[in-house]
């Protein structure tokens, strides 16, 4: 086990170094959620006045939505990096060393979790700076961040699976463009569930993006629904484990195809 831990550490350190070394990249990835936050925040400001919406400030309502949306949109590109490392032969070089195979996958998840944590925290701060309130306090923020990590893990692992299987940039771009908007709009990211048409409510109930945003939103509220945190959080965790297992399986298949 300690060999896996050590290898995971070295492989994660490598990825984090690339991450820290490009602060510009980190900032650019945050421009998009910042725009969402203030654009959608202004555009939909008055939807809270709709009877039955159930919130008083749309910004309060939107922050967890943007955190979750960012977790999806930034992690769904993970497969690109994996594919590049396959094409360059870097992955094969690692595979001819005694490195534990699990460590390579662990490092993917660890790096994604860390970058999602940083981005989610910055969005929460941006929202606060823009006037959002978080009655749930630090515990609520922490739960929102964990939910975004789990959701990011789901999409990161899914993207890695596609990257290893298909090894085509166009496919990853196509899948991502296809998924991001429907997954966001078939959820309570922008709109309260009570005001949705029935079929969207049904779709949202099986949408992991919705699970994550509901967990985060209730945790940030003054009176969190812990039952909802437990169930949706549990489903998210289960799905994250399942997708990581799937990507690990695909990685084994890749190793057999070399």
């Amino acid at each position: 086990m300690s060999a896996v831990m050590a290898d995971t550490w070295w492989m994660t350190q490598r990825r984090l170094r690339a991450f820290v070394r490009q602060p510009a990249f980190l900032i650019i990835t945050l421009v998009q959620p910042a725009i969402w936050l203030f654009l959608f925040g202004s555009l939909f400001r008055r939807v809270v006045e709709l009877p039955g919406f159930g919130a008083t400030s749309y910004l309060d309502y939107l922050v967890p939505g943007v955190v979750v949306m960012n977790a999806v949109s930034s992690n769904m590109w993970a497969g690109m990096g994996t594919m590049e490392e396959i094409e360059r032969g870097t992955l094969n070089r690692f595979l001819t060393t005694p490195v534990r195979r699990g460590a390579i996958m662990n490092a993917n998840v660890a790096e994604q979790a860390l970058s999602t944590t940083i981005q989610s925290s910055i969005i929460v701060l941006l929202g606060w700076w823009g006037g959002a309130h978080y009655p749930g306090g630090l515990a609520g923020v922490a739960i929102l961040v964990v939910a975004s990590i789990l959701l990011g893990t789901v999409f990161g692992a899914f993207s890695n699976t596609i990257g290893m299987l298909v090894r085509q940039r166009e496919t990853i771009i196509g899948v991502n463009t296809f998924l991001l908007l429907p997954l966001t709009f078939l959820s309570t990211v922008f709109m309260a569930v009570e005001l949705m048409p029935g079929w969207i409510q049904a779709a949202a109930s099986v949408n992991p993006v919705d699970w994550a945003v509901r967990v985060g939103r209730t945790a940030l509220s003054a009176d969190p629904d812990w039952g909802l945190v437990a169930t949706r959080g549990g489903w998210l965790l289960a799905l994250a484990v399942a997708t990581v297992l799937l990507s690990t399986r695909t990685f084994r298949t890749y190793q057999k195809s070399v």
Binding site: W10, M11, R17, G89, N92, R93, T96, P98, V258
Partner: protein, 334 residues
């Protein structure tokens, strides 16, 4: 432990879509030897390296490296091998030093010893000045040297070099040859290199094997292989690729040239062997003239690996390397 550093028996590997990359490849490499796998692109060299370095699994056959079975004990094999792949595999975002440090870490080297080793390698491969720069800023030659250094961090017993000089300019290639020669001489390292440059195999390999269509057609020292072709090689380049009737005429005419043997026709190139090359040239030219075949150039040479390749694979190396139809072989002992 076997006496061989590398031992492969009847390796077979078929890729999806029915591409048979290896078709019963067998080879042995003695410890401390530089062994060359020479063959055109697509002959199966890289597949052989992938199997011996535990990246790919053979469909059939067995192989050991430093006494460890590549299928049953891949981890033990990985500890004792260094691998330099065909194209550079360094992480372009990291510096040269960081790449080397990570490679050492993955081999489980402790920090202090590793730092010393990395400093030593950076110095030795002339990378000390650029060690702190991201690899993406390196020239092709620098990247290649870093690749070799990466393969050596953990002091492997067997080093695999897959086409070490492909894509390098002549100057960088000469430098790389010198480096490989020094590695073999200085550290008792066993080196298995693949190449499709005849000159490279001739110059670096103590022993070499010619690979064609997934199997080894002949193996030996470069001198042995060339020595088997007795005498000089006479190469005559014709002005045009002869048709079948012309081929028959040429063959008939050459049968009457005293001293010429092993006559082979490969496209517009005619080759023959002779104990005294220059002596047969006048007769050969007269015979061709009689047959009405126009000649472009005539060369007389000591046997080269290209001749060895022609003899065992039945075609010229340059032609095997590009997907061209295989030329006809006329007469002569094969």
């Amino acid at each position: 432990m076997t006496a061989y550093a590398v031992e492969a028996h009847d390796l077979v590997k078929t890729y999806p879509k029915g591409v048979r990359a290896l078709d019963g490849l067998s080879a042995t490499v003695a410890p401390g030897e530089v062994f060359g796998l020479l063959g055109p692109n697509g002959a199966g060299k890289t597949t052989a390296v992938k199997i011996l370095t535990t990246l790919a699994r053979p469909d059939a056959g067995t192989a050991t490296v430093a006494g460890h079975d590549v299928r049953r004990e891949p981890d033990r094999v990985r500890r004792v091998i260094g691998v330099v792949a065909q194209r550079t595999t360094a992480d372009p975002a990291a510096t040269g030093r960081e790449n080397l440090m990570l490679q050492g870490r993955l081999h489980g080297l402790p920090g202090g010893a590793l730092r010393t080793r990395v400093a030593e390698l950076l110095e030795r491969f002339g990378l000390a000045d650029v060690a702190g720069r991201a690899v993406r800023t390196y020239s092709g030659g620098l990247q290649r040297r870093l690749d070799v250094a990466l393969g050596l961090v953990h002091r492997p017993r067997v080093l695999f070099l897959d086409e070490p000089t492909t894509g390098l300019d002549p100057e960088a290639r000469a430098a790389m040859w010198q480096e490989i020669g020094a590695l073999a001489a200085g550290e008792g390292l066993t080196i298995l290199l693949t190449t499709h440059y005849l000159e490279e195999a001739d110059r670096l390999a103590d022993r070499l094997a010619i690979v064609d269509k997934g199997r080894i057609v002949v193996a030996g020292t470069p001198e042995e292989l060339k020595g088997e072709l007795r005498g000089d090689a006479v190469h005559i380049e014709l002005q045009a690729r002869p048709d079948e009737a012309a081929q028959r005429l040429i063959r008939a005419a050459f049968d009457r040239v005293p001293g010429a043997r092993d006559i082979q026709l490969d496209g517009p190139r005619l080759s023959a062997r002779a104990d005294d090359g220059p002596a047969v040239v006048p007769g050969a030219l007269a015979a061709l003239d009689q047959a009405g075949v126009a000649v472009q150039t005539v060369t007389v040479a000591r046997p080269s690996l290209d001749d060895v390749y022609l003899r065992y694979a039945g075609r010229r190396f340059a032609e095997a390397d590009t997907p061209e139809p295989v030329g006809a072989v006329v007469g002569g002992a094969r």
